[in-house]
C-alpha cells in the first residue's frame, strides 16, 4: 500500500498565518499570558509550540515556558504495533502545577494521542487547566476530546492521511492530504 499526494492544504504562508492567529487566540482566551506554558507533543508538536511561543513573545513581550512531551509510555496501542516506537525524553523543565498548559500538536484525529498526552502531563503535576492547540483537525474522534485552537478544519475520509511537513524536522514546509493507493 502506498500513499500519493492528493491535495495541498497549506503552504508555508498559510501555516505561518494560522500560527499567528492561534497565538492571538491563546492570548485573548486567557486574557494575557500570566501563568501560561506551552507543551508540544513529540515530534511535530515540538517546533509548533516553539513557533507559538515566539509569536506570543512578539505580541506580548513575554517569554512563556515551552516543553516537549514524549507520550510513548502512555499509548494504548503498544501491544498492537508491529514496530515498537522509541522512547524519548520528556523535556518539561518547569513546574506544571497550577499553570495553564496549552498542549500543541500538528494533527488531531482519533483523540487518543491527546488522551495519552493529558495523562502524561498529569503525571508531572496538577495544572490549573489544559487547553489544546492543533494545526489541523481532521475529524473522526474516538474519544470526547475537542481542540480549543485549530489552524484548519479538514474533512477527511479514513482512507486518507494528513502529512504535515515542518522546516525544523523535514526541511520543507507544507500540509498535504494523501490518499492510499492499492
Amino acid at each position: 500500500m502506498e500513499l500519493r499526494d492528493k491535495k495541498l492544504l497549506m503552504d508555508d504562508v498559510a501555516i505561518n498565518r494560522a500560527i499567528t492567529r492561534i497565538a492571538h487566540e491563546i492570548i485573548e482566551r486567557n486574557k494575557g499570558v500570566d501563568n501560561l506554558a506551552l507543551i508540544g507533543i513529540r515530534r511535530r508538536g515540538g517546533p509548533l509550540a516553539q513557533r507559538l511561543a515566539k509569536r506570543i513573545e512578539e505580541i506580548e513581550g513575554v517569554k512563556v515556558p515551552v516543553g516537549i512531551l514524549d507520550i510513548t509510555l502512555y499509548r494504548d496501542d503498544l501491544t498492537t504495533l508491529a514496530e515498537q516506537p522509541l522512547v524519548h525524553r520528556t523535556e518539561v523543565f518547569f513546574d506544571v502545577n497550577d499553570k495553564v498548559i496549552v498542549l500543541v500538536d500538528d494533527v488531531i484525529y482519533t483523540g487518543r494521542t491527546i488522551r495519552a498526552a493529558m495523562d502524561a502531563i498529569i503525571d508531572l503535576g496538577r495544572p490549573a487547566r489544559i487547553q489544546l492547540a492543533v494545526l489541523i483537525d481532521r475529524g473522526h474522534r474516538e474519544l470526547p476530546i475537542k481542540a480549543d485552537f485549530v489552524g484548519k478544519n479538514v474533512p477527511t475520509s479514513r482512507s486518507e492521511s494528513i502529512l504535515v511537513l515542518l522546516n525544523e524536522i523535514d526541511g520543507c514546509e507544507r500540509v498535504v492530504i494523501q490518499e492510499k493507493t492499492t
Partner: protein, 312 residues
C-alpha cells in the same frame, strides 16, 4: 524498534545495536525515577516474577521497583525457602509460575546456564539476573549506562576490572559488552583469581594495579565474594587489601577523570578504601539508580508490545 529476542540471557550473543537501544531507552526511564510521580502506565496488565535461587537484595529489589514504576505487577517468589525445601524440581517450579500467568521472570541461580535452560522450557520471557560465574547482563548494562552518562561515549575506552575475575559474572558480561564498543578491557588481580583462558575473550591480563591502571578511563572494582572464598585462593583478606585494594593514591597512573565503579555491596578496607568509597570518583550510588533505569528499559523493550504482529 524492539529487542528481537524472547529472552535476555547475556551480552555475549547480543548485538551492539540492541545494547544501544537499551541504553538509549534507559535515559527517559531515569527521568521517571527522578520525578515526583514515579509512575508510567505502559506495562499495565503485565506481570513480572523475580525468582532468585541465590541471595540478593539489591538486584531483586531493583527489578521489582523497575516493574512497579512502569505499572507491571511484580511478585517476589521465595523459592529458596519453599519450593527448594519441598523438593520441587526447577522445571516444575517454572511451570507453576508460568501457569499463574506471568509474562516475564528475572532469574538468578548459582549454577551457570540455568536461565538458559529455563528459557528453552517456558513461554515466559526470561531475564538473567546472574547465573553462576557466567553472566549478569543487567549489571553490565547499568555499568555501561553509567560510563556513557559521564564519558558521553563508550567507544574505545580503556577499562580495568579489578579483583576476583574467576568467580565474576559481572566481569564476563562487562567484557562482552564493552568489547562490542571497541574498548580495551584489562583484568587485574592475584593470579589465582584470574583464569588464564580469560585472554581468549580479548582482554589483557595484569597482576599489578599500577601497571593495569596506566591511562585507564574507568576502573570497575569487583566485590571480594567472601562466600565463594572457601578454597583459599589468596592467603588472607589483609594481604589481598595490601596488594589490590583500590584507593585514591593507586589512581595516579590512571586518567585524571577516571571513573570508579563498584557493583555493591562494598567491602570497605578490602577491595576499596573507605576514602575512595566516599569520594566523587566513586559512582556506586549512581549505579544503583541507573540499575533501576536500565531494568525499566529492558522490561519495556521486552514487554511493551506483542511480537510479530502486522501493522494496521
Amino acid at each position: 524498534m524492539r529487542l528481537e529476542r524472547k529472552d535476555l540471557l547475556g551480552l555475549r550473543d547480543i548485538s551492539r545495536e540492541e545494547i544501544q537501544l537499551i541504553l538509549d531507552t534507559a535515559l527517559p526511564m531515569k527521568d521517571i525515577i527522578l520525578r515526583d510521580i514515579k509512575k508510567a502506565p505502559t506495562l499495565r496488565g503485565k506481570a513480572l516474577a523475580t525468582v532468585f535461587y541465590e541471595n540478593s537484595t539489591r538486584t531483586r529489589t531493583s527489578f521489582e521497583i523497575a516493574g512497579k514504576y512502569l505499572s507491571a505487577d511484580t511478585v517476589n517468589l521465595q523459592v529458596t525457602s519453599s519450593s527448594v525445601q519441598k523438593g520441587e524440581s526447577l522445571r516444575d517450579t517454572i511451570k507453576t509460575i508460568e501457569m499463574m500467568g506471568f509474562d516475564v521472570i528475572a532469574m538468578r541461580h548459582s549454577m551457570s546456564g540455568t536461565p538458559q535452560y529455563v528459557a528453552r522450557n517456558t513461554n515466559m520471557r526470561v531475564i538473567n539476573a546472574g547465573d553462576g560465574a557466567n553472566e549478569h547482563p543487567t549489571q553490565a548494562l547499568l555499568d555501561m549506562f553509567t560510563i556513557l552518562e559521564h564519558k558521553k561515549t563508550l567507544d574505545d575506552l580503556k577499562v580495568a576490572i579489578v579483583g576476583d575475575i574467576l568467580h565474576s559474572r559481572v566481569a564476563r558480561s562487562n567484557i562482552y559488552g564493552l568489547s562490542k564498543y571497541g574498548c580495551e578491557v584489562r583484568v587485574v588481580g592475584p593470579s589465582t583469581l584470574i583464569p588464564p583462558e580469560i585472554e581468549r575473550l580479548g582482554v589483557k591480563t595484569y597482576y599489578n594495579l599500577d601497571q593495569a591502571f596506566k591511562g585507564v578511563d574507568v576502573i570497575n572494582v569487583l566485590r571480594i565474594q567472601r562466600e565463594r572464598q572457601q578454597s583459599a585462593l589468596f592467603p588472607s583478606l589483609d594481604e589481598y587489601a595490601d596488594l589490590y585494594m583500590v584507593s585514591s593514591d593507586r589512581l595516579q597512573s590512571a586518567k585524571d577523570d577516571v571513573l570508579v565503579l563498584h557493583p555493591g555491596p562494598m567491602n570497605r578496607g578490602i577491595e576499596v578504601s573507605s576514602e575512595l568509597a566516599d569520594s566523587s570518583s566513586m559512582l556506586v550510588n549512581e549505579q544503583v539508580t541507573n540499575g533501576v533505569a536500565v531494568r525499566m528499559a529492558i522490561l519495556f523493550l521486552m514487554m511493551g508490545g506483542s511480537r510479530g504482529e502486522v501493522a494496521n
